[in-house]
């Protein structure tokens, strides 16, 4: 396996594996977030958040997830810089609009915008819950399986931001759409890079990628829209 990680295909393999890992993560994240709109009392979301915060498996996955993000981002920059160097003199006129999709040509731009959103997102929620704390997070008691369980009121933190800040809601929707666009190319491309593709599977994977991207973009957008409309 010598030089695998520095070879062009090896670097892309790293992008694919981390990308597919992140694809699974965002689906889990979405499933949990949808609890926000299923129960206005917040108990359901708080229970889900409490489960995630106390589950040992999730505790192990948290640093793995962070590593997944970091590798995906660092490798993408490494690949992009090398790819840009491969053409020292640019074309005066280049017409790629009919031969490739816009998203496929602008994965770095889409990824960077998603990263900007991610940093903001972490500061608003993850950082407050894990590090700084917030008065909104004051403990609540939820009936769970016949017993009272004390837990942080994560619902209050999230819901209050969506209820009070329309701008944040708009940015959240924009983030969801950008992520969806990133996935339209990234999802099938990841399978292609690990070699799981041929003429028949390509059509299937592209359709699945599109459906998945729409589910993610729409799924995440529904949450701020729900709070904007209802409250």
């Amino acid at each position: 396996m010598s030089n695998f990680l520095t070879a062009s295909i090896g670097k892309k393999f790293v992008m694919s594996v981390t990308g597919l890992f992140l694809v699974v993560f965002i689906a889990v994240h979405l499933a949990l977030n949808l609890m926000l709109i299923l129960d206005d009392s917040g108990d359901l979301f708080n229970m889900a958040a409490h489960f995630m915060a106390t589950n040992p498996a999730i505790k192990i996955m948290e640093p793995v997830l962070a590593l997944g993000f970091i590798i995906h981002i660092v490798w993408s920059l490494w690949i992009t810089v090398q790819n840009m160097k491969a053409r020292p003199v640019k074309y005066a006129k280049q017409d790629l609009k009919n031969s490739s999709s816009w998203a496929s040509r602008n994965m770095l731009i889409l990824g960077s915008l998603v990263l900007v959103f991610l940093v903001m997102h972490i500061m608003h929620f993850f950082w407050k819950i894990k590090v700084t704390g917030s008065p909104l997070l004051e403990e609540v008691t939820v009936m769970q399986g016949g017993v009272h369980v004390h837990m942080e009121n994560a619902y209050a933190l999230v819901a209050s931001l969506f209820k009070s800040n329309a701008l944040y809601s708009v940015l959240y929707i924009a983030g969801a759409i950008l992520l969806g666009m990133h996935i339209t190319h990234g999802f099938w491309s990841a399978f292609h890079t690990i070699g799981w593709n041929n003429k028949i599977w390509r059509k299937r994977l592209e359709v699945v990628a599109l459906i998945y991207a729409i589910v993610i973009a729409v799924g995440y957008s529904i949450i701020p829209l729900y709070f904007l409309i209802k409250f």
Binding site: M1, S8, Q82, Y91, Q94, L96, R202
Partner: protein
Amino acid sequence: MADITLKKIYVKVWRQNSPKDKGRFETYEVENVSQGSSFLEMMDILNDNLVREGKDPIAFDHDCREGICGMCSLYINGKAHGPDTEITTCQLHMRKFSEGETITIEPWRAGSFPVIKDLMVDRTAFEEILQSGGFVSVNTGGVPDGNTIPIGYEDSEEAMDAAACIGCGACVATCKNSSAMLFVAAKVSHLAKLPQGQVEAKRRARNMVAKMDELGFGGCTNTGACEAECPKAISISNIARLNREYLCAKIAE
């Protein structure tokens, strides 16, 4: 039906005296070009005019002029081999252009394809990749009868589709990353699909990819632009096969 004649067109061409020269665009007027003439015939007319004016004609690559040799190139109006699909530049006709149009012509742009002069680029890099593994080693002695080697229909078709690659370099020229993956994938695929190519399959995938990287071609990001611009419509499914072959070869290493 008689061909329409374009009374005047403008040709904006990249001129570069030598590999070291910085290069610049120059615009020429060409009059009375029949739409029935080929693009390279229009270039011949333009060069004839330049020679008559005592100027240096434009250097461009061409050979068979029937779309099979892979010698012609040219990035025309932002597209490799110009505004048509599944053709080489020599198969492009002036009926794709209109009266008074300015046609921009650039050489293939890639660090691994340095400009020799004007529109001619050095594609030796492709030869080097081929020499690193794009072959089958055959012992001397009696030649085995081809018909005694059983090959499935699908496999032979796929191998032939990949073997249609003429090595023109349009994939590299059109790729936003100047990646040679479609070329390497075509060469690896057409041999990997046939029994004769199996013996050296792992070594071939490893060596050709290593050579491609060493020569400074970019990495593949699966945009698919190469397959759309390829004059032989070689599918990027071959790239998936190359990825598969390469990963298996590296695991077995």
